[in-house]
Amino acid sequence: MEALLQGLPLDYLAACDYAKTGQNWQVFLPAGSLVKAAERLLAADWHLEDIAALDCFEGYVVTYHFAHFDRPGRATLRVVAPHDAPHVPSISSVFQGALWHERETRDFHGVIFDGHPNLIPLLLDPDMADCFPLRKDPKSRVKMREFLEAGQVIYRNPSFTLMTPDAPAESQVSGGTAATA
């Protein structure tokens, strides 16, 4: 995975325990390098399994699940889109399967995928296109380091602090928010 994503601007790359969470790699990407990463994954025989968004305290974490057909291994690519302007580039030009997954994510969370050719409602009624059922109440949003697996960090961009554990004092505060959730 390190070799595959060599040279791309990354935020965070960690090896995870498959037996525990069902994923081998955890990657955080800046939105800009997503399409390039997807191209490299396609060239390396990965297939797109799923796209989902997760409404966290820091923003919408758009999660791309990739896996192999012929050998084990799952990679989770994640892009954080801020709440006020949730824009993520579309990878539908690389993985056409993303067309629908992205439309679904837009339905549920309101994440806009730039470059998607036809970003119209898929599962929800077009008349309620501005209603995003899986967006969380701002009070009950949880910081993503609370539940996303940190794994064994292989690379971390110094400016990317979202996954580093909090200082003890702060963690109590975030623990409080989790309890109200």
Binding site: H47, F69, P72, F95, L134
Partner: protein, 388 residues
Amino acid sequence: MTRYADMGQVAGDFYTENFAQTAQEGSLILNLGPQHPSTHGVLRVIVELDGEYVLRADPVLGYLHRMHEKMAEVKTAAQFIPNMGRVDYGHALAWNWAFVGAVEKLAGIEVPERAEYARTITCELNRIASHLLWWGAYLLDLGAFTPIMYAFDDREKILDILQVPTGSRLTYSYFRIGGVAQDLNEDCLSRIRAFIPWMRSRLPMYKDLVSDNIILRKRIEGVGVIEPDQCRRYGATGPVARGSGINFDVRRAEPYSVYPKLDFEIPTSMLMDARGRYDVRMIEIEQSLRIIEQCVEQMPEGDTLVKGAPKPSWKVPKGEAYFAVEGGRGKIGVHVVSDGGKNIYRTKLRAPGFSNLSLFAEVSRGTILADAVAILGSLDLIIPEIDR
């Protein structure tokens, strides 16, 4: 979302208008569905026709959308299990398993051996039932009316067996976090033992009546060719991928439960067309019988629910987990993210039919309308699963 300007001549709703914007001059836009005999429930496909040729097709989903993922947010993990029986009525137990497995993985719960066997047996029986349902419905799509009756005759036997431990016939909620709801009793096991040779004796009839029939062969051979590369780009799994020569089965690729201990084959077909997918499913019925046979033999004594199984007030610990099982239609994945609260923070359901159907627009381009229907059927669609 801005509404597109009214096109004037095009009568229809938002989706038809949107679709018609890029239509060619002089083509015919036809809405197949949502109430159409060959769309298995309430799928709607907008097709642009030039005579009988499909220029473009665009499935429209959402007519059976129930927002299971939102329901998961407002229910505890145990309370969400009945929902999983309703996602895919064809292979409900695989969905049961995917969700329960994800929660167990997150909480680190070990399932007793006997429960694993019970899960495997019931899940495989359900897989045969799912394939039989597909077989009958697909032949109905192709215009043969009788096979569905024969298929349902056999499927009825499976449902009778599954009714013993689960109490239901279609929308099972049999699995529990840490095991299964009820043990497979001797009555059930003896029925299963009797069922295996019966089902084997029925398969030649299927072959005679349908698989060898020249009309059917001509209808599905060379129709809807899906290249392995397309499978990769669209994330198609299950018999659709295996029919395209990709040897991928979650039971082998990411083994779970007792599957590593069992001896069975993953059928693949290099034909890549509807025939390949048909063959794969028919062989899978045989392989599932083999799995069940071995499981019934090897099944140990013991508990079927882990000691100290979760109480209603149990909270799923913090963290995330992804668990995938092989369903009748492909890889069923459930991604669970929990913040340690009463309800699970986010549950993402990965429906195999969703990815498989997204292939349809590309595969159906340039085919004849009848072929488009044949392709649609060969993808084995269960609409509630796709719409969730």
